[in-house]
């Protein structure tokens, strides 16, 4: 373990690449001040980009989804370690996967979905794929295309799922929400809320048909190979951020939250198991 010459932060989320760069710039500046090296922010196109970057050592730290963390862990358990996660306003550290359909389709629950198409988001998304695929199959609805659903497709991401359901390309889909607030607003936070705010969908036209168990918020991970003091410094900056610079924390957390709290790999064991079970199917 030696000196580092630069620090590379990976950022992902449902926003414009440049917006993401901008909202995380304050974080990067803080790290740069503390470490005394240049900090660069990278915005890969999808979850996989962050995973490859962390595995290949070209990204040092990132806020990840639970499932993509699990994927990274399975590929190389030594690559990264989770250090912090987001704590919601109500103190919980989880969110939900929400299944929804168009109201006019008459679909009210998964029972009405026989022979219909079901849409997931990104294969590496926890709420957009991993958890619903595991929980829904466990509930007795096979996820094998053609078995119970006529087809199961990936739309590419949360935003695309919402559009696809709204357009009727798929009969139902899953996306994430914090589960707080009201359905007609698209909840307080989540992909639905962003779509509503953008004027893309009318929540009156959508119906919730399913909700998952609580899913742990994604971890902020740091590459294990980094010097310990670097890891500690960066972790501390983020852990104190809500207290010291709420504006910046809002950007990093991509929304309102209470705090960043410590986590360990144990929090995500169930997710890793879920991911492994999907592989072995």
């Amino acid at each position: 373990q030696g000196e580092i010459t630069e620090f590379r932060l990976g950022v992902l989320g449902g926003e414009n690449a440049q917006d993401r760069m901008a909202t995380n710039q304050c974080f990067a500046d803080k790290i740069a001040d503390a470490l005394g090296v240049e900090v660069k922010v990278f915005t890969p196109a999808d979850y996989n980009g962050v995973m490859q970057g962390l595995l290949g050592g070209s990204i040092d730290a990132a806020m990840m989804g639970a499932s993509s963390y699990a994927g990274t862990y399975i590929a190389d358990p030594e690559a990264v370690e989770p250090v912090l996660t987001t704590q919601n306003i109500d103190g919980s550290i989880g969110y939900y996967s929400i299944g929804f359909a168009r109201t006019e389709s008459g679909i009210e629950s998964l029972d009405d979905m026989q022979g219909k198409t079901f849409g997931f988001g990104d294969p590496n998304s926890t709420s957009g794929y991993l958890i619903p695929s595991v929980e829904i199959s466990e509930a007795g609805y096979s996820m094998e295309p053609g078995d119970y659903f006529s087809d199961v497709v990936f739309t590419g991401g949360h935003e695309q799922t919402i559009v696809a359901v709204n357009n009727g390309d798929v009969d139902a889909g899953v996306t994430w929400a914090d589960g707080l607030g009201n359905w007609e607003d698209g909840y307080n936070n989540g992909a639905l809320r962003k779509a509503v705010d953008a004027g893309l969908v009318d929540m009156n036209e959508l119906t919730q048909i399913w909700q998952s168990e609580i899913i742990p918020n994604g971890p902020f991970v740091i590459r294990q190979a980094l010097p310990q003091d670097v890891k500690d410094t960066v972790t501390e900056i983020l852990a104190d951020m809500w207290e010291e610079d709420a504006e910046c924390a809002y950007g990093v957390a991509a929304g309102e939250a209470k705090d960043f709290v410590p986590v360990t790999h144990d929090h995500y064991k169930s997710i890793v198991a879920a991911r492994e079970s999907v592989i072995n199917n």
Partner: protein, 444 residues
């Protein structure tokens, strides 16, 4: 004259029936070919499920998109719990009006806030309810309570511009849109143009006329004005410029790097320069591999080693184009004029000198024009590669499209990309003409 008697030994009737036969075959072809194509298109029509697609098509999404490209909307949002009203362009934090200011079509009179919409529409926020005057229809009044939204409408059947449910009422007219839920009341007001394109609301230069700006600029504020424009938080011109540069950079490094790598390899793959079959075949298979794998897959393969960024994209283009150039260059080398080489050889020149003077001057024009052509088309490909590897204008473009709300930015990027590609097309045309007809042997 002998014309009639000179006619063929075959009788005219024979010829007629033969001509008929010929036309039968021709007709078969002229029907058969289009019929085959048509049959294939019909197959594709169903294979692509076009009927279903037409069914699902959402022209109104198209309308949103089109409207967004030339107009913007201002959100007037009231938190029904706190009663706080925010004004934000496109509903974005960066577009929020500073505390205490609001657009001139809003008037605040004590507890009542009036939002004037075009065509005589008007929305009034009262402390406990909202009223919306729709000319020719009447006034809609809605009150949000803990249990839901309670709305009263003018008499008569419910018009289809109102979408009402227990918890949510939405009125969409061509003057704007009003949404009332338990928590929030929101008005969208549309206006033409790309608001804040030059300056954001917090800039002192926002809304200033060009003349006034110019006089400020000449009186020493040019730097600040440029700074406010260049670092506009909404449109991020500096980031966009960088992204464009990054995209062109990927194309440039990839194309010319590939040309440099491919040139020596092409000699090894050309029949007349490498008599060894093994070496030649090896080189050709390497070219096939590079080309066959395609830049898309190279991008993924390289992402592990180099991470996201323009370098990865350049290398992906470089690898694919090495394959294409290798093939094309070696074909050009196989077509060189042997006479020139022989002339140089007869003076007792060494092999390298023979290549330098007998071969290079002949092939440079061909190679150069191919390279420049690829440079232009790679500028376009680099957009796509950037979208996958995470770099350049391509990433911005795809991300802006995926979030499906920033269509004005999408339009902006598309215009920039089209301009840059056309610029490259034009530039490479000029360079091609100059380097090939005039300028001696060309530098590289």
């Amino acid at each position: 004259m002998t014309m009639l008697s000179a006619s063929a030994p075959l009788s005219a009737d024979d010829l007629k029936s033969r001509a008929e036969g010929m036309f039968r075959t021709k007709r078969l072809w002229s029907f058969g070919l289009p019929a085959l194509v048509l049959a294939y298109l019909v197959y594709a029509f169903f294979a692509f499920d076009v009927p279903g697609l037409i069914d699902r098509a959402r022209p109104e999404n198209g309308a949103i998109l089109v409207r967004d490209t030339y107009s913007y909307k201002t959100h007037v949002e009231r938190d029904n719990r706190t009663g706080e009203i925010t004004f934000a362009i496109e509903g974005e934090r960066k577009g929020e009006y500073p505390e205490g200011t609001y657009p001139d079509w809003v008037s605040v009179d004590g507890d009542v806030t009036t939002v004037t919409l075009p065509k005589g529409h008007e929305v009034r926020y009262y402390p406990d309810h909202v009223e919306y005057d729709v000319p020719g229809y009447g006034t809609i009044s809605a009150k949000s309570e803990g249990r839901g939204v309670e709305a009263t409408y003018p008499d008569g059947p419910m018009p289809d511009f109102i979408s009402a449910a227990r918890n949510r009422v939405m009125v969409t007219t061509d003057a704007g849109r009003v949404t009332i839920t338990r928590n929030r009341t929101e008005v969208f007001r549309y206006a033409m143009g790309w608001e804040l394109f030059f300056f954001t609301l917090d800039s002192p230069y926002h809304g200033m006329a060009p003349g006034a700006l110019l006089s400020r600029a000449t009186s020493g504020e040019a730097g600040e004005i440029w700074d406010d424009f260049w670092h506009n938080e909404m449109w991020r011109h500096s980031d966009v410029a960088w992204a464009i540069v990054e995209t062109v950079l990927m194309a440039f490094l990839g194309t010319f790097g590939a040309a440099i790598v491919a040139l020596p390899l092409a000699f090894l793959a050309a029949r007349n320069f490498t008599p060894l079959v093994v070496v030649r075949q090896l080189c050709r298979r390497i070219f096939d591999l590079c080309r066959g794998v395609d830049a898309l897959i190279w991008t993924i393969v390289l992402a592990r080693a180099f991470g996201p960024g323009p370098l990865t994209g350049s290398l992906a283009i470089l690898l694919t184009d090495t394959g294409s150039f290798g093939k094309m260059f070696s074909e050009a080398l196989e077509n060189v004029d042997e006479k020139q080489i022989e002339g140089v050889r007869s003076t007792g020149a060494r092999a390298v000198q023979r290549y330098r003077f007998g071969v290079i001057p002949q092939v440079t024009p061909v190679l150069l024009s191919q390279v420049l052509y690829f440079f232009e088309s790679n500028t376009r490909s680099a957009t796509v590669i950037g979208a996958i590897t995470g770099g350049g204008i391509g990433l911005m473009l795809t991300q802006a499209m995926i979030t499906q709300k920033d269509w004005e930015e999408v339009t902006y990027y598309i215009i920039l990309i089209v301009l840059v590609v056309m610029l490259m097309d034009w530039l490479s045309g000029i360079l091609r003409r100059r380097l090939i007809s005039g300028g001696g042997e060309g530098g590289h």
